[in-house]
């Protein structure tokens, strides 16, 4: 229960930051994708099911406020969370390389999907422009923010896990 509340709070804060504060501090009009960081990190820390649920709700929030249809971003974020969950078996909290790589790949994948479905299908073929001016800057900015956000997520998750363990011991 406590985990659900904390996670909902995380999604809420990240969404708020992404469309208000980071919008005001955007470099060249590009904002980092905090929700991808959140979805991916809970995916590889907690497994597939957690990842896909967090992805689903993050995406749904984006859909309600900024999507032209409801369900598109929810679907994209959900699959990203699920795919990251597959890596939970080789995840160790001490290692920073895997999380960074996974988040980078997730954001790249998100950018490609957005381009193909929302732009390519409308006849915008200038892929190199979108890659250089939108997808790559977003990846770089996201990774920079990850360096600050990821330790926070990791620490909160660890303390939650410890509390859950203590709770189990009490029952036995």
């Amino acid at each position: 229960m406590k985990r659900a509340i904390v996670t909902a709070f995380f999604i809420f804060i990240c969404f708020l930051m992404q469309c208000t504060v980071f919008r005001a501090l955007a470099f060249g009009g590009i904002v980092p994708n905090l929700l991808i960081v959140l979805t991916a990190s809970f995916g590889f820390m907690r497994g597939e099911k957690n990842g896909l649920l967090i992805g689903f709700f993050s995406g749904l929030l984006v859909d309600i406020f900024f999507g032209s249809v409801i369900g598109f971003y929810a679907l994209v974020y959900m699959y990203i969370g699920y795919a990251n969950g597959k890596f939970s078996i080789i995840f160790y909290p001490e290692d920073i390389k895997l999380p960074i790589t996974l988040i980078l790949c997730s954001d790249f994948f998100y950018g490609i999907i957005c381009y193909v479905i929302l732009f390519l299908l409308r006849g915008k073929f200038d892929f190199s422009y979108y890659l250089i001016h939108i997808i790559l800057p977003e990846m770089v900015y996201t990774v920079v923010v990850t360096l600050f956000l990821y330790p926070v997520i990791l620490r909160v998750n660890r303390s939650l896990e410890q509390q859950e363990k203590r709770g189990e011991k009490k029952f036995v």
Partner: protein, 289 residues
């Protein structure tokens, strides 16, 4: 043994892949349903509106405070150089000012001709503040702090100062989503004020950085449209009220078919520093189907 068969005394846990499958179907269903209708935007919009919007208002006030501070620091250096330049410019402007005063008489008479001024005043407007911008980098839309409780509805036109900003595409009880005319997926039917030639103005992601928007399909057989001409919303648009200023023609090129022209427009609104907008509480009259 199948993972969904329940054994005695074992707590039932739905495996991840089944949950993924169920939610995928749910999402696909919602996409198909909301592609043409607005079934979910009502209830979902209300819930999200009451939880998120109050925080967006607060945080975005903090955000704009931070931005103005960071801009101030960067500006000091520029200001010194700019000061020198401006002093030289004053001389130029004094000369130009006399010339412009002559033009003003002409402008007044033209205004009377088109009655643009009075047209804007006739519409009932309501002010609103921008509280959040698009969370992604692909489109340009934003959320304002007024909604259906304040009498706003989908397709109402949004202006800032004297220029067109966009139209409302979604409303909740206390928030509305505005799609700007510079967004990549938006098209506006427009006309050149001087010659009443129609054209289509469309936003383009590739032009965001340079602050211009493109137009196409301008039929100007008499070659009267020149750079600097005013572009307003056309009479035949079914979403936008007629005669709202969009911007000024920046570049104009003849298309390869030699019949139509295309080019770029400098918008009348500064989309980079938009904070408050006006919503026109009147919908374009359409023929009932």
């Amino acid at each position: 043994m199948s993972p969904i068969i329940k054994r005695k005394g074992e707590k039932f846990v739905l495996p991840g892949k089944y949950l993924l499958f169920i939610l995928t179907i749910l999402c696909t269903g919602m996409v198909l349903l909301t592609f043409n209708t607005t079934i979910f935007s009502g209830p979902l919009g209300s819930v999200a509106g009451y939880i998120i919007v109050p925080f967006q208002e607060g945080v975005s006030a903090a955000g704009s405070f931070l931005r103005s501070r960071s801009e101030e620091l960067g500006q000091i250096r520029d200001l010194i150089a700019e000061n020198e330049m401006l002093k030289a410019k004053i001389d130029d402007l004094t000369i130009e000012n006399t010339r412009l005063q002559q033009d003003r008489y002409e402008l007044t008479s033209l205004r009377e001709l088109y009655e643009l001024d009075s047209q804007y005043d006739e519409y009932e407007k309501i002010g609103a503040r921008i509280i959040a911008r698009d969370s992604g980098n692909w489109f340009y839309s934003f959320v304002i702090n007024k909604g259906s409780d304040d009498g706003l509805a989908i397709d109402m036109n949004v202006i800032a100062g004297s220029g067109l900003v966009g139209r409302i595409v979604d409303t909740g009880p206390n928030w509305s989503k505005v799609k700007a005319i510079i967004a990549d997926d938006s098209n506006v039917s427009a006309m050149v004020l001087s010659s009443s030639d129609n054209m289509i103005v469309n936003g383009d992601l590739r032009l965001y950085a340079s602050g211009i928007i493109s137009f196409e399909q301008l039929k100007d057989s008499d070659n009267v449209v020149v750079e600097g001409d005013k572009v307003v919303t056309s009479n035949i648009s079914d979403k936008y009220l007629p005669g709202i200023l969009i911007g000024y023609i920046n570049t104009i090129n003849t298309d390869s078919n030699n019949l139509t022209k295309s080019g770029y427009i400098t918008p009348a609104v500064d989309f980079e520093h938009l904070e408050e907008v006006l919503v026109i509480l009147e919908l374009k009259q359409t023929i009932e189907e």
